[in-house]
């Protein structure tokens, strides 16, 4: 969980706490409390002692005693109850016999106690209990578990897990439980025996063991990892996770996190000193952070490096980067400011490098991207530039000249693992300028705009035409215009407000020769609404396509008049070329481009549909289409199916779900929102062209209320024919260890719509 930058006094929320326990009532000063004694019979020696028999009930401040016979010495408010006694104190229930308790200081002892601690939902019994003060008690030969000891019918039942100790000390003020000579049993099987063992009682961050997890995969064998959490300070913590892999040997993962008012930082590392399979050391290192030492300055860094090129095959889950074979090292510094009323400026510098995990198999090699080594720039922009709000123009807007300028120098280098065939390194100085005169009105808008893209290059190895220096300037003129109509209508019998928003974009860019110039950061945009209404089909700086074209299209929205929710949206966009482009990502001599149909619907509550189809009018066939359906009736209940088709390239079905399977819904003792319930989440990607499952991931989670079992099976391809099947299991005993790192974090990163169980605020899902 990345630390969120917090202000100075805010508590450091580094680890998500578990469900909030019932807060104990603040123990008032006992001394100024009256003592009320009820019984069948009583004899009192004035001001000295009181004896009571028969259904005795003694209330003193927050403490309530129930017993059959009671002797109380009034001078030191000491209570003696020989027989069975029940004590309720700060929400905890304690029962036993032969009580002696000095009520003011809350010191005393009780024999054969059984207890249930409200703060943790934990309960147990012991031979003897010593009260050591308002919030501290110590029990000899004690047991402790957060599992219920009585089933629904009230029959006593053995707890699923139990900690048996020679001595157990519970300190509710410091939220710490210490056990000596402890044996932990789960379903009767001894899991852990430790001479001394401490565990957190509340949710506050305490140093201690986190739930261990066990995993297995066919490349590393069985893996056992037991994390230990260090609560270093209010604003810093660390987690050390020693692990052992049957095939590869011993190692350790580590994480240190720090937070301060002006920034946060995180260091993650993994070290496998001697990998028996590969024979050498395997390590991974990730450093990330963000800092804002003074207003306007923003410093960010995120770097990740691993020891070897096969790291992604063997230890994939220890790579944090979403692209396992392309690891970025990125340092960004930006200073923001304003000049007078009308101008904002931003000076920035950046170094971006890559570690490419290259392979030897030809088909899977990576063409390495360029590195910014460094990048230095200055951006100026007029303040209050109003972006076009997706068909929602707020109000009459006086036409006002707006513009922007970007001056930037880049030295592009190639990472070490770049292929020999890749084009050379070089330097570029560029300027991107634009000037616009937007006229905006709720019913229409007209934005004439002039763009200028100037770039000067310097390369060491001469270009195709022998030059080592080159420059060019490409101007672009464009007019963006649109209208907005509305009418009241009905759809499927429901009153609707329908909007119709036609839009035109005329772009005129002269041809400028760029074929021989280096291309460091330009590429074809995907075919979508944003790219059709863009003035350049290339992204980046290095390529500006010549164009005299008109993009035209319309969007129609059906809105609910009551709450303004968009229930249905249909869109159509196409482009007409007045002359064929000489420089374009994909040469296309057709006058009319492919047509893009987009839509999104949320007509019936838990159903969401959206899609986009790129349709070729000439051969009446779709070039590319993405259709998605999602059924999301509530939190933890979502099933989404996506169909992605790319003509002659790929056709893929992607099923993702999170769904409770079985078991009862109810609130368990420890406040968890579900008891005895199976949850499943997962994702399966099926390639219809290769008719095989490419990647799949299944997570199962059983929450019995007092323990949570997490299991995960993951199948990741690691080569054209190889795959790595990975299995993971984690047992968590609620109340014995703070909710630790959820081993199924991989679900959160890979299942769209997955909601971790710990956060269960129910909410209706509508856009």
């Amino acid at each position: 969980q990345a630390p969120t930058p917090a202000d100075a006094d805010a508590p450091l929320r580094l680890i998500k706490g578990s469900a909030p326990r019932s807060a104990p009532s603040v123990p008032g000063k006992e001394r100024d409390k009256a003592m009320v004694l009820k019984a069948d019979r009583s004899t009192a020696e004035l001001g000295k002692s009181v004896r009571a028999e028969g259904g005795v009930e003694l209330r003193y401040g927050d403490t309530l005693l129930r017993t059959e016979a009671l002797q109380m010495n009034e001078t030191r408010t000491e209570v003696v109850a020989p027989g069975e006694v029940q004590i309720e104190h700060l929400g905890s229930h304690i029962q036993g016999r032969a009580l002696r308790l000095e009520l003011d200081a809350f010191l005393g002892e009780l024999l054969a106690p059984t207890y249930r601690i409200a703060q943790t939902g934990g309960s147990g019994q012991a031979q003897r209990l010593d009260f050591l003060g308002e919030q501290r008690m110590r029990a000899d030969a004690a047991s402790y578990s957060s599992c219920p000891r009585v089933d629904e019918q009230g029959q006593p039942v053995a707890p699923d897990w139990e900690l048996r100790t020679d001595r157990l000390e519970l300190d509710l003020a410091r939220n710490e439980g210490r056990a000596e000579g402890a044996v932990l049993r789960f379903m009767g099987v001894p899991l852990l025996a430790a001479p001394s063992f401490s565990f957190p009682l509340g949710d506050q961050r305490r140093s201690g063991w986190l739930p261990p997890h066990i995993g297995a995969d066919n490349r590393s064998g069985f893996e056992l990892a037991v994390p230990y959490y260090f609560n270093l300070a209010d604003n810093a913590d660390a987690t050390l996770t020693p692990f052992v892999m049957t095939r590869r040997g011993f190692g350790a993962d580590g994480e240190v996190r720090g937070l301060s008012p002006w920034g946060s930082g995180e260091l993650q590392g993994s070290w496998l000193p001697h990998d028996r399979v590969r024979g050498d050391d395997r390590w991974a290192l990730r450093l990330s952070g963000q800092a804002a030492p003074w207003p306007g300055l923003d410093l960010r860094w995120a770097t990740e490096r691993v020891s070897d090129d096969d790291y992604w095959k063997d230890l994939r889950r220890r790579i944090a980067s979403p692209t396992p074979r392309l690891l970025s090292s990125d340092l960004q510094l930006a200073q923001r400011g304003g000049w007078g009323e009308a101008l904002d400026w931003q000076a920035y510098a950046r170094v971006q490098r890559w570690q490419v995990l290259q392979t030897t198999e030809l088909g899977t090699q990576i063409v390495a991207p360029y590195q910014r080594d460094p990048q230095v720039g200055l951006r100026l922009s007029s303040r209050g530039e109003l972006g076009l709000l997706a068909g929602f123009m707020p109000r009459q807007h006086r036409p006002r000249l707006e513009g922007g300028l970007e001056l930037e120098f880049n030295r592009f280098s190639l990472p070490a693992a770049a292929l020999a065939s890749q084009s050379p390194e070089g330097e570029r100085l560029h300027a991107l300028a634009h000037l616009a005169l937007p006229v905006l009105d709720p019913a229409w808008w007209l934005i004439p705009r002039l763009d200028l893209n100037a770039a000067a290059y310097r390369v060491k190895t001469p270009l195709a035409d022998g030059r080592t220096r080159a420059d060019r300037v490409v101007p672009t003129f464009s007019i963006d215009a649109g209208l907005a109509f509305e009418r009241d209508t009905a759809l499927f019998g429901r009153p609707m407000l329908q909007s119709l928003e036609p839009r035109l974009l005329f772009v005129n860019t002269p041809y400028r020769a760029q074929e021989n110039l280096p291309n460091f950061d330009s590429a074809e945009r995907d075919f979508n609404v944003e790219s059709l209404y863009a003035i350049n089909p290339f992204t980046g700086v290095d390529r500006v396509a010549d164009a005299r074209q008109l993009a035209f299209g319309a969007v129609s929205r059906w809105l609910s008049p009551q709450n303004g929710e968009e229930l249905l949206r249909l869109g159509l966009v196409q482009r007409y070329q007045f002359r064929t482009q000489r420089l374009s990502p994909i040469p296309d001599s057709r006058r009319f481009s492919d047509m893009l149909l987009t839509g999104a619907a949320h007509l019936r509550d838990p159903w969401y549909l959206d899609g986009a189809v790129q349709f070729n009018p000439d051969n009446q066939r779709s070039v590319r289409s993405v259709l998605r359906a999602r059924y999301n009736p509530g939190p933890y209940r979502t099933v989404s199916l996506a169909y992605r088709f790319q003509r002659d390239q790929s056709e893929q079905l992607d099923l993702a779900w999170q769904w409770p399977l079985a078991g009862r819904q109810g609130v368990s003792a420890s406040g968890q929102s579900c008891q005895g319930r199976w949850y499943s989440a997962g994702r399966v990607q099926y390639s219809m062209r290769e008719s095989r499952v490419t990647d799949s991931l299944l997570g199962l989670e059983y929450n019995s209320g007092c323990w949570v079992l997490r299991m995960g099976v993951e199948r990741l391809s690691t080569g054209l024919s190889q795959a790595n099947t990975r299995f993971l299991i984690q047992l968590e005993l609620v109340g014995l260890s703070r909710l630790g790192a959820n081993a199924l974090k991989v679900l959160r990163d890979n299942v769209p719509g997955y909601r971790p169980l710990a956060s269960d605020d129910g909410l209706p899902a509508t856009p």
Binding site: P322, R325, Y370, P752
Partner: protein, 145 residues
């Protein structure tokens, strides 16, 4: 066919409070810019008539297509927001609802720099969509009800 040019949106309140956004939130910055052209003041909660409380604003991306050799070929960019609207006195005007916007983005390693700019543009487009959806929700509110 009944279509008429759209009129300016009428908001039934002038003082709005924006609460709960993460410390650096593109949606809040875009919303403030959009509201600046309206007769609408963004004020602190106690002085406001309507409080837009955002409990979650998550910009994330999930790899939805990869090659057999661990190369990502397509991302699904996501903007998930959970928000509710109340009066300063915490009377519920719009229950907690979730907004989920997505954009697809193909990618290959060689053009990582170009795709980085395209991702930034698509995320700006999603933020504009989110602001438009929020503004429509606010325009439909009747706090004086």
């Amino acid at each position: 066919c009944g279509f008429a040019p759209r009129g300016a949106p009428r908001f039934e309140f002038e003082r709005l409070a924006l609460v709960g956004f993460p410390s650096s939130s593109p949606v809040r910055d875009a919303l403030v810019r959009a509201l600046s052209s309206l007769p609408m003041g963004v004020v602190a909660a106690p002085q406001s008539q309507v409080v837009l409380e955002v409990q979650r604003e998550e910009h994330s991306k999930v790899a939805v297509a990869s090659t057999a050799a661990g190369q990502v070929r397509e991302w699904q960019l996501q903007l998930v927001m959970e928000y509710r609207v109340t009066t300063p006195g915490d009377e519920l005007l719009l229950p907690l609802t979730q907004m989920r916007l997505t954009r697809d983005l193909t990618t290959t390693e060689a053009i990582a720099l170009a795709k980085e700019r395209e991702e930034a543009e698509l995320r700006r487009a999603m933020v504009q969509d989110a602001v438009a959806l929020l503004m429509r929700r606010l325009a439909a509110l009747k706090p004086s009800r």
